[in-house]
């Protein structure tokens, strides 16, 4: 039985993580930065689920961790959006490079 090797999933997760990372570090719109972070979380989730099947100690624990991560990511997205709304109301901008009030 030949199946897709673990390393294929890990490399895919790596690529997605790198894409998300690059986007999070360079994108200007706060919303895009937020969804890039979601993408990075997803890449981690792939790892967790892949290890749940092909890891040294396979079991359902990996999947449960993925579920927890999704829950936290959802909470993070909700709070992030709320912060974004508050910021936008005060500063009238969604550009991350215009928000530098922590400079000094």
């Amino acid at each position: 039985m030949s199946s897709v090797p673990l390393s294929a999933y890990l490399v895919l997760a790596l690529i997605l993580f790198c894409i998300g990372l690059y986007g999070a570090l360079t994108k200007r719109n706060i919303v895009v930065v937020l969804i890039c972070i979601e993408l990075m979380l997803n890449a981690v989730n792939i790892n967790l689920v892949a290890f749940a099947k092909y890891g040294a100690h396979p079991g359902v624990a990996g999947q449960i961790f993925a579920l927890f991560t999704i829950a936290v990511a959802a909470a993070e997205a909700a709070v992030g959006l709320a912060v974004l709304m508050a910021l936008y109301r005060n500063r009238k901008t969604v550009h991350i490079d215009e928000i530098d009030s922590m400079k000094h």
Partner: protein
Amino acid sequence: MSGEYLAFLALALVAIIGGVLMLNLSKVVHMVIALVFTFISIAGLYVLLSAEFVAAVQVLIYSGAITIIMLFGIMLTRHREEDKEKTTTGGFWRKALTAISVFAFGAAVYLGVYQLDFGENAARLHEKNAEQIGTALYSHYIIPFEIISVILLVALVGAIILAKKDDGEAQKK
């Protein structure tokens, strides 16, 4: 080449294309839509990995809830001349340095993982997957489960308070 391979390749391709599109499209809405492809193909990958329940959750939460929230966020904060403005921050050098670093990081991790294999383990995850998860979640992981529910509640309340208009501001209007 087995069907599993084909499915994996297809799904992986879609996921990566979705990510790359997300980086290169100019409109924010398009970016979010591109990412939906990625999320859905990841859900497909979960199925390949014998995690049907997680796949379902993935579709529900990411493709559904989070994407919708993001779209709401975009629409509520939308700029008038979005298209004419640049979509990235920083100068050429910072972006180049970041890109090189990301590549270096990717290459280093790749060196670590490309031959990683723990061998085939007889895990029976695909049999009654949801049941297995449910059993574990409500027995072994009951305390983390309760804590995560509290976190969700806190996040819910916090998000509402943050997004709510200030009292002073409301009075001004």
